[in-house]
Symmetry: C2
Subunit: 459 residues, 2 copies
């Protein structure tokens, strides 16, 4: 291992290394075969961006970069993979020979994780010999898409309840293991406080939070006995689930237990309600707890929550201390996919763009300059050619040179802090859950000119 690779954050890498180089679309290999034989190995510039924003999103949050960089640094074809490719008789011997030594040797520019961005803006620019830059397309999109979805959704939850505790409970209905693990990380970046996911806690150091399941209550003859048995051995995190049979009785039993434990020096931290009309039920339960000398016992809720449910409960001033957010976060229920793409911007110093209907792209390497108003809020983003010098903060920075990270990755806490600052810089019109009136992105005059020039060329 080189000195540079020591800057990788082990935890993130761990979860990409199990997947081989063949997790790609067949056409990548087909195109590589052609590129090598044609000698088309000059520098290609590709950019990853979201073409259109979903109607339900005013902004998005960058995430997944560390995964993409891990992938680029570790990309190799194993002898077994090459043998399998050979066995398909689809590829030339020249391709197989080249793949044996295939490495990503290019440069990468990117927005840091946690950065707020908008449609059309490149998050990632890859500059590498054409076959390398082309090959990584499928997996780069696959690695970055879901973390962006979850971070963007989690940020909306955070904006809906700025001061409540938010706990990720999305593991079980995430689409597979990687989504579960990186979804937890993405939600933590965007401001969640904790996760139920033990593996994500282990890998990334995310605070972990526990409760109990209905099955625990059901496995006992009596609910009160289940509560007592659960808490008798738990020194911390005593969150008691009170809705298995009847919420009122559950709350009374939890209160009785809390008083009993308190006398013995212990404590019930909270009750959890997972069903029913939560605004109503939490108010009833709050009253029961307060009447029974349990004002210190907090109320946590769960069950099909998302940013809209949270906003409604907050507006109703429901006495809720923490929200468990699961499925709707981890699958990004209202927008389970983004229209994200990885497009060729330039080959051998010749900018290009596609003009397919509704899929037109801007040509050439690009940069995003963010301009702020006097209060430090985002005023305008200018989408410019990469070599233009504009006012504002340039959002894309060099993060990899010759296939190696240039700087140590930021810690997850640093990323989370950066994201909080980014969310604080959103203008009011973009902070709400409903779609704001306009995108703050303007395209520079030179970028426009370049597109016109490209379109004039014969094809």
């Amino acid at each position: 291992m080189s000195r540079r690779s020591a800057t990788r954050r082990e935890p993130v890498r761990t979860q990409t290394s199990g997947v081989g180089a063949l997790l790609t679309d067949l056409y990548q290999l087909t195109m590589l075969d052609a590129y090598y034989r044609l000698g088309m190995e000059r520098i290609g510039v590709f950019e990853f961006f979201v073409r259109r924003q979903r109607d339900t999103r005013n902004f998005m949050v960058a995430a997944g970069l560390e995964l993409a960089l891990d992938y680029l640094e570790s990309l190799r074809f194993t002898p077994q993979e090459l043998d399998w490719l050979a066995s398909t008789q689809r590829f030339s011997d020249e391709l197989l020979a080249r793949l044996e030594h295939f490495r990503f040797t290019g440069n990468v520019f990117a927005m840091p994780e946690g950065t707020v961005f908008f449609a059309s803006e490149p998050l990632l620019r890859i500059v590498a010999p054409l076959p390398e830059a082309q090959f990584v397309e499928s997996r780069i999109i696959n690695l970055m898409h879901h973390p962006i979805l979850v971070a963007s959704k989690a940020a909306r939850c955070r904006l809906a309840a700025p001061h409540s505790m938010l706990i990720d409970f999305g593991l079980r209905r995430s689409h597979g293991a990687q989504a579960a693990i990186h979804g937890s990380r993405a939600s933590y970046i965007a401001g969640f406080d904790a996760t139920s996911n033990v593996e994500a806690a282990r890998l990334f150091g995310i605070p972990i939070s526990s409760t109990m399941a209905h099955s625990f209550v059901q496995a006992h003859d009596l609910e009160a006995q289940a509560f007592r048995n659960f808490t008798a051995y738990r020194p911390q995190d005593l969150v008691v689930l009170i809705d298995t049979y009847d919420i009122t009785r559950g709350a009374l039993r939890a209160a009785a237990l809390a008083r009993e434990l308190r006398a013995a020096g212990g404590r019930v931290e909270a009750v959890r309600i997972d069903s029913g009309e939560l605004a109503l039920e939490t108010r009833r339960v709050r009253e029961i707890l307060d009447r029974n000398e349990c004002s210190d016992v907090r109320i946590f809720v769960s069950g099909d929550l998302d940013e809209h449910a949270i906003e409604t409960l907050q507006a109703a001033r429901a006495p809720i201390d923490a929200y468990y957010v699961g499925t709707r976060l981890s699958v990004s229920m209202d927008a389970p996919a983004l229209d994200c793409v990885y497009t060729l911007q330039q080959y051998a110093d010749r900018p290009s763009r596609k003009r397919s209907q509704w899929k037109e792209s801007w040509p050439g390497p690009r940069q995003v300059y963010r301009q702020y108003d006097p209060r430090g809020r985002i005023g305008m983003d200018v989408l410019a050619c990469a070599d233009e010098v504009m006012e504002g903060r340039a959002l894309l920075r060099e993060v990899m040179v010759n296939g190696r990270r240039t700087t140590p990755s930021p810690s997850l806490k640093q990323v989370r802090r950066h994201c909080a600052e980014e969310l604080a810089s959103l203008p009011l019109v973009l902070r709400g859950l409903e779609r704001g009136c306009h995108s703050p992105v303007k395209v520079s005059a030179r970028q426009h000119d370049l597109a016109v020039q490209c379109d004039r060329r014969p094809t």
Copy 2:
């Protein structure tokens, strides 16, 4: 390795083994700690089912069972994982000692993959000492949920276009690697013909299909040159993408190339159109190809397709030979999550159910009996107690005893054939894309009685 484990299908297992036992919710470990200390280790029965059907689904397709069985057979805590758990100081020494030797030793009953099923019906019943049966909840749901989503969506695409070629192109916007790989497998089970996903092809032997990307065209000065360069080195799968700049010109260039290649003994298999009004464009392109002696060149389409788009194009009799279906399939766009749960049905021979509002469940171990009409179509499913003897085919079969598979897993082709038969058995009212009038599921009288008995017990 025991003799029995040789019956595992290596490919499926490969993709679960990289993920550790800690991919679980913290409360599973918390509850285990309590169960062990309380000596609550008698037999628990849990069932996995979908609580409610999404409005957009008349039926679902079982998938993911092989993954779940692989998980149960291989579940272990590594010394590193145990060390980490100890370092959190959250767990008793007794729990850590038990986890060191933790194995799944229970029995499993399940619907075979590819089986059509409906809301409320158990797909999987796990019968094991309570701590084992409880612990596997989070990951079992995580493993089975997404394959069911994709298989169910893919089946709808298949029903919308019974005779067209359907190609999975979902890798890039799947939620991570596991979703990409197992999404391909699930769509193949439900009737897709091929995938673009090389890793899925390698692991499962799914036929693989290729095309070209816009970037390949853009990397050349001239589109015609790109087509020629692409095909010059490709002996098969010549699918030429014609919409990068202008579809009419692209079609003419593809036709010219096809005639040229034909003269030399080669062939352009198809053109692909990825944008625009596909019903209109495919008709125009068909005319261009036919007028230019290219009636043998087929037309493939892609771009945000799903079962509804396919149905519309089929109804318009658009001249389309193959559909690439990507994002909307792999994330199950209209229903990215199912309301699936894994609930305790019985502990120590005592059936139970939860009565949380809108989340009530049926108690006890259950079986599904499927009754057919004289034409072999599904007439009614009866949801009965597991020990009832009813008319009809019992859908849950024993697949694992004492933690080991009882029979070799079926081949993927067998599963696919089974699914085709299942789809053929759907009554007309459930075959359409719009929601049919009613669910064909009835609950047996004894099951009703058992629920009443449970509700009478004090809690």
